[in-house]
Protein backbone atom coordinates (compact mmCIF):
# COMPACT_ATOMS: atom_id res chain seq x y z
CA UNK A 1 0.00 0.00 0.00
CA UNK A 2 2.80 2.36 1.01
CA UNK A 3 4.62 1.50 -2.21
CA UNK A 4 1.54 2.39 -4.27
CA UNK A 5 1.18 5.73 -2.52
CA UNK A 6 4.87 6.47 -3.01
CA UNK A 7 4.66 5.51 -6.68
CA UNK A 8 1.68 7.84 -7.17
CA UNK A 9 3.51 10.61 -5.38
CA UNK A 10 6.67 10.09 -7.41
CA UNK A 11 4.74 10.14 -10.68
CA UNK A 12 3.26 13.54 -9.79
CA UNK A 13 6.17 15.13 -7.96
CA UNK A 14 9.43 13.97 -9.53
CA UNK A 15 8.79 15.76 -12.87
CA UNK A 16 9.01 19.04 -10.92
CA UNK A 17 12.39 18.40 -9.32
CA UNK A 18 14.20 20.72 -11.75
CA UNK A 19 11.92 23.62 -10.87
CA UNK A 20 12.13 22.89 -7.15
CA UNK A 21 15.91 22.71 -7.31
CA UNK A 22 16.26 26.02 -9.14
CA UNK A 23 13.84 27.81 -6.81
CA UNK A 24 15.66 26.35 -3.80
CA UNK A 25 18.99 27.43 -5.25
CA UNK A 26 17.81 31.00 -5.67
CA UNK A 27 16.21 31.10 -2.22
CA UNK A 28 19.20 29.67 -0.35
CA UNK A 29 22.01 30.73 -2.70
CA UNK A 30 23.96 27.61 -1.65
CA UNK A 31 23.91 24.38 -3.70
CA UNK A 32 24.31 22.18 -0.62
CA UNK A 33 21.52 24.00 1.20
CA UNK A 34 19.33 23.79 -1.93
CA UNK A 35 19.90 20.00 -1.99
CA UNK A 36 18.79 19.69 1.62
CA UNK A 37 15.81 21.99 1.13
CA UNK A 38 14.60 19.99 -1.88
CA UNK A 39 15.00 16.72 -0.03
CA UNK A 40 13.15 18.05 3.03
CA UNK A 41 10.42 19.36 0.75
CA UNK A 42 9.92 16.03 -0.99
CA UNK A 43 9.75 14.13 2.30
CA UNK A 44 7.30 16.66 3.72
CA UNK A 45 5.23 16.48 0.53
CA UNK A 46 5.11 12.67 0.65
CA UNK A 47 3.80 12.82 4.22
CA UNK A 48 1.18 15.36 3.16
CA UNK A 49 0.31 13.55 -0.06
CA UNK A 50 -3.14 12.54 1.22
CA UNK A 51 -4.08 16.22 1.41
CA UNK A 52 -3.19 16.78 -2.23
CA UNK A 53 -6.23 16.74 -4.48
CA UNK A 54 -5.65 14.79 -7.66
CA UNK A 55 -6.06 17.01 -10.67
CA UNK A 56 -4.97 20.18 -8.88
CA UNK A 57 -1.64 21.86 -9.55
CA UNK A 58 1.16 19.66 -8.18
CA UNK A 59 3.93 22.14 -9.05
CA UNK A 60 2.27 25.01 -7.16
CA UNK A 61 1.58 22.68 -4.22
CA UNK A 62 5.22 21.58 -4.10
CA UNK A 63 6.52 25.15 -4.39
CA UNK A 64 4.26 26.12 -1.49
CA UNK A 65 5.76 23.37 0.65
CA UNK A 66 9.29 24.29 -0.37
CA UNK A 67 8.70 27.94 0.43
CA UNK A 68 7.16 27.10 3.82
CA UNK A 69 10.13 24.88 4.60
CA UNK A 70 12.46 27.68 3.61
CA UNK A 71 10.64 30.25 5.74
CA UNK A 72 10.37 28.03 8.81
CA UNK A 73 13.76 26.41 8.75
CA UNK A 74 16.18 27.96 6.34
CA UNK A 75 15.67 31.68 6.23
CA UNK A 76 16.64 32.10 9.86
CA UNK A 77 20.05 30.55 9.15
CA UNK A 78 21.08 33.02 6.51
CA UNK A 79 21.82 36.70 6.62
CA UNK A 80 18.98 39.17 6.75
CA UNK A 81 18.11 40.39 3.25
CA UNK A 82 18.97 43.92 2.26
CA UNK A 83 16.29 46.39 3.24
CA UNK A 84 14.76 48.15 0.28
CA UNK A 85 13.77 51.77 0.42
CA UNK A 86 10.43 51.76 -1.39
CA UNK A 87 10.66 55.47 -2.08
CA UNK A 88 13.93 54.97 -3.92
CA UNK A 89 12.62 52.64 -6.63
CA UNK A 90 13.81 54.15 -9.90
CA UNK A 91 11.49 55.21 -12.66
CA UNK A 92 11.71 53.70 -16.14
CA UNK A 93 14.27 55.31 -18.45
CA UNK A 94 13.43 58.66 -20.02
CA UNK A 95 14.43 60.33 -23.24
CA UNK A 96 17.78 61.53 -21.80
CA UNK A 97 18.87 58.00 -21.01
CA UNK A 98 22.11 56.90 -22.74
CA UNK A 99 20.74 53.36 -23.18
CA UNK A 100 16.93 53.55 -23.03
CA UNK A 101 16.46 50.12 -24.58
CA UNK A 102 18.59 48.30 -22.04
CA UNK A 103 21.28 46.93 -24.33
CA UNK A 104 23.64 47.11 -21.36
CA UNK A 105 21.83 44.20 -19.68
CA UNK A 106 23.51 41.76 -22.05
CA UNK A 107 26.96 43.03 -20.98
CA UNK A 108 26.49 42.28 -17.30
CA UNK A 109 28.13 39.15 -15.95
CA UNK A 110 26.07 36.36 -14.40
CA UNK A 111 27.60 36.80 -10.95
CA UNK A 112 26.36 40.37 -10.76
CA UNK A 113 22.84 39.42 -11.86
CA UNK A 114 22.73 36.63 -9.29
CA UNK A 115 24.04 38.99 -6.59
CA UNK A 116 21.33 41.52 -7.43
CA UNK A 117 18.63 38.84 -7.25
CA UNK A 118 20.00 37.50 -3.98
CA UNK A 119 19.96 40.97 -2.46
CA UNK A 120 16.24 41.31 -3.03
CA UNK A 121 14.01 40.86 0.02
CA UNK A 122 12.49 37.37 0.05
CA UNK A 123 8.99 38.46 -0.97
CA UNK A 124 10.40 40.13 -4.09
CA UNK A 125 13.00 37.50 -4.88
CA UNK A 126 10.47 34.68 -4.91
CA UNK A 127 8.18 36.38 -7.45
CA UNK A 128 11.12 37.18 -9.75
CA UNK A 129 12.36 33.60 -9.54
CA UNK A 130 8.93 32.05 -10.12
CA UNK A 131 7.84 34.48 -12.83
CA UNK A 132 10.90 35.68 -14.70
CA UNK A 133 13.23 32.70 -14.29
CA UNK A 134 10.79 29.78 -14.06
CA UNK A 135 8.03 31.43 -16.13
CA UNK A 136 5.19 30.15 -13.98
CA UNK A 137 1.77 31.71 -14.77
CA UNK A 138 0.60 34.43 -12.37
CA UNK A 139 -2.26 32.25 -11.13
CA UNK A 140 0.14 29.46 -10.19
CA UNK A 141 2.50 31.87 -8.43
CA UNK A 142 -0.46 33.31 -6.53
CA UNK A 143 -1.46 29.79 -5.50
CA UNK A 144 2.08 28.85 -4.45
CA UNK A 145 2.63 32.02 -2.42
CA UNK A 146 -0.95 32.26 -1.16
CA UNK A 147 -1.37 35.86 -2.28
CA UNK A 148 -3.76 37.49 -4.80
CA UNK A 149 -2.74 37.72 -8.46
CA UNK A 150 -2.75 41.52 -8.12
CA UNK A 151 -0.15 41.28 -5.36
CA UNK A 152 2.01 39.03 -7.55
CA UNK A 153 1.91 41.68 -10.27
CA UNK A 154 2.67 44.59 -7.97
CA UNK A 155 5.55 42.76 -6.25
CA UNK A 156 6.93 41.75 -9.62
CA UNK A 157 6.74 45.34 -10.84
CA UNK A 158 8.67 46.60 -7.81
CA UNK A 159 11.16 43.73 -7.88
CA UNK A 160 12.00 44.39 -11.52
CA UNK A 161 12.45 48.11 -10.94
CA UNK A 162 14.82 47.41 -8.04
CA UNK A 163 16.80 44.85 -10.04
CA UNK A 164 16.97 47.06 -13.10
CA UNK A 165 18.15 49.98 -10.97
CA UNK A 166 20.92 47.93 -9.40
CA UNK A 167 22.09 46.45 -12.68
CA UNK A 168 22.03 49.86 -14.29
CA UNK A 169 24.11 51.30 -11.45
CA UNK A 170 26.57 48.44 -11.86
CA UNK A 171 26.72 49.11 -15.61
CA UNK A 172 27.48 52.77 -14.90
CA UNK A 173 30.10 52.00 -12.26
CA UNK A 174 31.91 49.58 -14.53
CA UNK A 175 31.75 51.88 -17.55
CA UNK A 176 29.40 49.71 -19.62
CA UNK A 177 27.23 52.81 -20.04
CA UNK A 178 27.99 56.47 -19.24
CA UNK A 179 26.93 57.57 -15.77
CA UNK A 180 23.78 59.65 -15.60
CA UNK A 181 24.89 60.99 -12.22
CA UNK A 182 21.58 59.96 -10.62
CA UNK A 183 21.35 57.89 -7.50
CA UNK A 184 19.01 54.93 -7.23
Amino acid sequence: MADTVTAQFEAEALPHLDTLYRVALRLTNEPAAADDLVQDTMLRALKAWKSFQTGSNARAWLVTILRNQFISGWRTRKRQPTKVDMDAIPEPPDSGDPDPEGRFFSEIIDDEVIRAINDLPDEFREVVVLSDLEELPYAEIAMALDIPVGTVKSRLFRARRILQGRLRRYAEETGIIPSTGEDE
Binding site: A2, D35, Q39, S95, G102, F105, S106, P137, K153
Partner: protein, 82 residues
Protein backbone atom coordinates in the same frame (compact mmCIF):
# COMPACT_ATOMS: atom_id res chain seq x y z
CA UNK B 1 6.40 59.28 -10.48
CA UNK B 2 5.52 61.18 -13.63
CA UNK B 3 1.82 61.06 -14.52
CA UNK B 4 1.38 58.95 -17.64
CA UNK B 5 -1.34 59.45 -20.27
CA UNK B 6 -4.15 56.92 -19.90
CA UNK B 7 -3.24 55.11 -23.14
CA UNK B 8 0.39 54.70 -22.04
CA UNK B 9 -0.59 53.38 -18.64
CA UNK B 10 -2.94 50.84 -20.23
CA UNK B 11 -0.23 49.66 -22.63
CA UNK B 12 2.48 49.41 -19.95
CA UNK B 13 0.15 47.45 -17.68
CA UNK B 14 -0.37 44.91 -20.45
CA UNK B 15 3.28 44.34 -21.43
CA UNK B 16 3.58 41.10 -19.49
CA UNK B 17 0.30 39.82 -20.93
CA UNK B 18 1.59 40.68 -24.42
CA UNK B 19 4.83 38.76 -23.85
CA UNK B 20 2.96 35.83 -22.38
CA UNK B 21 0.65 35.58 -25.38
CA UNK B 22 -2.44 36.25 -23.30
CA UNK B 23 -3.94 39.05 -25.41
CA UNK B 24 -6.52 38.90 -28.17
CA UNK B 25 -5.61 39.81 -31.73
CA UNK B 26 -7.39 43.17 -31.36
CA UNK B 27 -5.55 43.97 -28.11
CA UNK B 28 -2.21 43.15 -29.72
CA UNK B 29 -3.03 45.37 -32.70
CA UNK B 30 -3.99 48.25 -30.39
CA UNK B 31 -0.79 47.92 -28.35
CA UNK B 32 1.44 47.71 -31.40
CA UNK B 33 -0.25 50.71 -33.00
CA UNK B 34 0.35 52.72 -29.82
CA UNK B 35 4.02 51.75 -29.62
CA UNK B 36 4.55 52.78 -33.24
CA UNK B 37 3.79 56.35 -32.27
CA UNK B 38 4.88 56.39 -28.60
CA UNK B 39 8.65 56.28 -28.24
CA UNK B 40 8.48 56.10 -24.47
CA UNK B 41 6.28 52.99 -24.39
CA UNK B 42 8.37 51.37 -27.12
CA UNK B 43 11.52 52.03 -25.09
CA UNK B 44 9.99 50.60 -21.94
CA UNK B 45 8.86 47.51 -23.84
CA UNK B 46 12.37 46.97 -25.26
CA UNK B 47 13.98 47.71 -21.91
CA UNK B 48 11.80 45.13 -20.18
CA UNK B 49 12.42 42.62 -22.94
CA UNK B 50 16.21 43.13 -22.72
CA UNK B 51 16.07 42.73 -18.95
CA UNK B 52 14.03 39.51 -19.10
CA UNK B 53 16.22 38.12 -21.87
CA UNK B 54 19.25 38.72 -19.64
CA UNK B 55 17.65 36.91 -16.71
CA UNK B 56 16.77 33.95 -18.92
CA UNK B 57 20.30 33.86 -20.36
CA UNK B 58 21.62 32.75 -16.97
CA UNK B 59 20.44 29.32 -17.90
CA UNK B 60 18.38 26.84 -15.96
CA UNK B 61 20.53 24.34 -14.11
CA UNK B 62 18.69 21.02 -13.89
CA UNK B 63 18.37 19.13 -10.64
CA UNK B 64 21.72 17.30 -10.22
CA UNK B 65 21.58 13.54 -10.75
CA UNK B 66 23.09 12.99 -7.31
CA UNK B 67 20.20 14.88 -5.73
CA UNK B 68 17.65 12.89 -7.74
CA UNK B 69 19.22 9.71 -6.45
CA UNK B 70 19.26 11.02 -2.88
CA UNK B 71 15.60 12.08 -3.08
CA UNK B 72 14.50 8.72 -4.49
CA UNK B 73 16.41 6.87 -1.79
CA UNK B 74 14.94 9.10 0.94
CA UNK B 75 11.41 8.58 -0.40
CA UNK B 76 11.91 4.82 -0.49
CA UNK B 77 13.21 4.82 3.10
CA UNK B 78 10.33 6.99 4.23
CA UNK B 79 7.80 4.67 2.53
CA UNK B 80 9.21 1.62 4.26
CA UNK B 81 9.22 3.35 7.64
CA UNK B 82 5.56 4.36 7.23
Amino acid sequence: MTELPYECEAVLNQLDALRRGELTHDQITTMKAHMEVCQRCLSVERYERAFLTRLKAMGSPPCPDALRTKVSAALARSAHEA
